[in-house]
Point group: C2
Chain length 198, copies 2
């Protein structure tokens, strides 16, 4: 009956679904094989090894995230675009926690060189285009934006905000306010870090 052709893509997709359901640490070749109704060694025809499987999930996740962001920032600019960008990250982390986890790992070089990785940078850059940054500063702003959203979601998902009062949702709004304000009033390069004499 040849019930399922079982391609590399199908294996990775199943692994991603498992990651979203049970966490990335639950993604073992054994578990994926079980879900596919296949014996473990059969997967090695489609995936090199465990690390390659995780890299596959990362690549898939990056493509998913980029697609969401593209949708969220389309036709918007300035603060609305910023909200879209950040919101897309957060929604992705909520809806696809396993894939999100996969993006936090140090991956093989293929992931960084993928089209999705490039698109993500381009999209973020486009959002920053709405703010009036000096050309050389855009990279720094991109990195800061990426750092903050990444860190926020990591801490939120790790429960680090569960031990103090205002709900993470409130801080999330204030974080967007703060980043928007920061991008509008981006400090000039080296204003106080390399003063002439005083």
């Amino acid at each position: 009956m040849t019930r399922a052709p079982l391609t590399p893509a199908a294996v990775v997709a199943e692994a991603a679904a498992l990651a979203d359901a049970d966490g990335l640490e639950a993604v073992t070749l054994s578990a994926v094989a079980r879900r596919l109704g296949v014996r473990t060694p059969s997967l090695y025809s489609h995936v090199r090894d465990h690390a390659a499987l995780l890299d596959g999930i990362s690549t898939l996740a990056l493509a998913d995230l980029t697609a969401r962001i593209a949708q969220a920032v389309a036709g918007r600019s300035g603060r609305a675009a910023l909200e879209g960008l950040l919101g897309a990250h957060r929604a992705f982390a909520r809806d696809a926690p396993g894939r999100w986890q996969a993006l936090q790992r140090r991956t093989g070089p293929d992931v960084a060189r993928s089209d999705a990785a490039r698109s993500l940078v381009v999209l973020t850059d486009a959002v920053l285009h709405g703010y009036d940054l000096p050309p050389g500063e855009r990279v720094h702003a991109t990195r800061l934006l990426g750092s903050t959203v990444n860190g926020y979601l990591t801490l939120e998902r790790a429960g680090s905000f569960d031990h103090s009062e205002p709900s993470p949702d409130v801080s999330w709004g204030r974080t967007i306010d703060a980043l928007d304000a920061l991008l509008r009033a981006w400090p000039a390069a080296a204003p106080a870090s390399a003063p002439k004499a005083d």
Copy 2:
């Protein structure tokens, strides 16, 4: 000869050293036992299980980090204190990468309730005291600061900054500039996100 008493603290310390040397994923009970010259099952008298061992590393790491921060911000305020706070995080991530990794995991509740966790919040809060924030805003600023530094270091260590031009060190300086500027000109609460009526 009773060569080594082998206490819970000694086991965790050895595990932390291994994590710093070979990465947190290399911390297995087997590997720790080998380093201690002991058979694996012997460790179970001192550590409940693998998860507890990792939690132990996290607690230790949090204490280490807090101590560094305390040192780095002592007697400083304003931007100098901010630099100290952020710099201590970064130095810790560089010097003790395994412990740093341990702080990124979702831990058991004991870690969050530890003295070190409380101290970390207090110290961060103290740094913010040098900036003139409305009382209700300090929590948000603390969270944003934590998010950004965490995210930055995660991305830096993951190599995410290796594919674009300026070195991470440059962006690090600009990040501090930006955060300093942001804290000085913190946007008023709910300027656009929850207006009364307009």
